[in-house]
Symmetry: C2
Subunit: 333 residues, 2 copies
């Protein structure tokens, strides 16, 4: 059997039970954005790790080493954000093929270090080794979060409002532009490619939600809205209704859709790598929370509701409804 047949998450479900050796201190193991363990009565340690492989996740010609370094860190910081945490230290493993020069690697670290400095994260160690073929980057990041502020995936409730902390689909469209080397005007192309290559981890939004007392669950949108909403629904044992006309659709994304002959809603639902937070908010606290978010300069866009059941439905602008399923990125597709 190939891993393609069961998908990454099917595989995780099979191996997760093997790893639970010692339950003491473990608050959440495999199956959330971060592993969560108890440090003491008041604090939890978060650990997350992401592996980026050349020709699977990126091509070297897409971006400068600085940009790739910053992104390699950012995608991990996004996981810390999704758990409501403050990142601490990063550990970088690189498998480096011979064709890559030291100057390139130094620029990669420089880009990562600049991004790390922005968020007060140390680059504390790692491993550097050779590779016979592709460049491989693994980044592991630790974070800290007060025990009563951890945001999980499995704790959303039917009735909670679904919010997002930023735009969707732009990164997915940017990836399409890169993959197909689309010849479209720079004012359409550049911001979308930038959304793909230079994601901002929503760490401040994560802390805002974690300390609000209004947020019952969160995840970062890495696989795509449909997939990550499905993770929240499945893990919380509920369904969701999303209103299409509440999903933000920027002018350049629409224009890119026109030029590519593609409904931009596809990218909004399934594009992935948006790295905004998708959260569940207690409905009676939503207005207050949105006021506070507005004052602090955060976006908190309501896009739907969690409901009883196990279905995800999309309400079209004409009021009709259609089911939608997890259709985002799977690295084995």
């Amino acid at each position: 059997m190939n891993i393609k047949d069961i998908g990454e998450f099917g595989f995780i479900r099979r191996i997760a039970p093997l790893g639970a050796i010692r339950s003491e201190g473990v608050i959440k193991g495999i199956g959330d954005d971060c592993a969560v363990t108890s440090l003491d009565d008041e604090r939890c340690l978060l650990v997350t790790t992401d592996l980026l492989v050349e020709r699977v996740h990126f091509l070297l010609e897409w971006a400068s080493p600085e940009v790739l370094g910053a992104k390699s860190l950012a995608v991990n910081l996004s996981d810390i954000a999704a758990c409501g945490g403050t990142p601490q230290d990063a550990f970088i493993s690189l498998a480096v093929p011979e064709r890559i020069e030291v100057e390139w690697l130094e620029a990669f670290y420089r880009g990562m270090a600049e991004h790390a400095a922005r968020y007060g994260v140390n680059l504390l160690g790692g491993d550097t080794t050779g590779s016979r073929s592709d460049l491989v980057i693994n980044v592991a990041v630790t974070g800290i979060v007060p025990r009563d502020e951890v945001l999980f995936r499995h704790t959303a409730k039917a009735g909670d409002v679904i919010v997002i902390t930023g735009p969707l689909g732009r990164s997915g469209a940017g990836l399409r532009v890169l993959l197909q080397a689309m010849d479209i005007p720079p004012e359409v192309k550049d911001p979308l490619v930038k959304a793909h290559l230079e994601p901002r981890p929503h760490l401040e939004e994560g802390r805002f939600l974690a300390t609000s007392g209004a947020c019952t669950a969160a995840i970062d949108v890495s696989d795509g809205l449909s997939s990550d909403l499905w993770h929240l629904c499945e893990d919380s044992g509920i369904g969701a209704v999303v209103h299409e006309d509440k999903l933000p659709l920027s002018r350049d994304l629409s224009r890119c859709g026109e030029l590519a002959g593609k409904d931009p809603l596809f990218w909004v639902l399934n594009g992935g790598e948006d790295y905004v937070l998708l959260a569940a908010i207690k409905p009676h606290l939503l207005d207050d929370l949105q006021d506070q978010a507005h004052k602090q300069g955060f976006t908190l866009q309501e896009i739907g509701r969690f409901v009883k059941g196990s279905r995800m439905e999309l309400v079209r602008p004409d009021g009709s409804r259609r089911m939608f399923a997890a259709g985002g990125w799977d690295h084995f597709d």
Copy 2:
């Protein structure tokens, strides 16, 4: 410039300063077996990470997936041992080419989980993704150690006794047997190949040394005695004298040397992947410590002394001396 020109450690020296963003809480960053950060007044967090790449570190035909899984974890546990710590949780990232089946991966995790259970380590998370070419395995492990018991590399003193906690060279010889598919008797070959494929992390020895009050510095022998002793010397600002006749040389290792037409001392000095601990012991406490070690079933073999200066010398059985230098494994050689 290629990384080969400056070596892994030359590269680390160039990028390490970039990563020091926030000094608060950081006890040791890049450049020890583990990064060491402060958890509270009494405890430190250890983090280590190792990247294993197919065709650089291993070939799939050398070992069963169970054995490869166990080894991938063991090499990280050895880093925790070298810092005197107790391992806590492991995070596994895999980049999986299509030719590898789910059944193989499950066996890999099973082998790792069995090894994890032996040492009370959880497999708490990670990342699984595709690869276009080689299988890549990154394991990150956290550990805990009381603040006043951390073993570092940079704290050995001239006059301290150099000890090892187990045999050297066997793994290196085993690797040679595998690489050259040497046709030698199984009673010679099998134990050496096993030493290479199934290292035991010296966690109990590490805790024994850490709590002894007699150990001033330690490292695990992963790159080879000459390289790892050099790390201790360089970081501590001292030299070393090693007595060849005190270096343990097993019968099968000698026999393998004869059959391969190679001086087995080469493997003892430079073989690497021994995963025993190399430690500095206060000389007046050595006898007591060796007594205690003996009672607890540990090996604590004296092999020489740290001395003033910056040279590493080997005393031959005839009393003559020769300099030796770091000559172990470099993954960019």
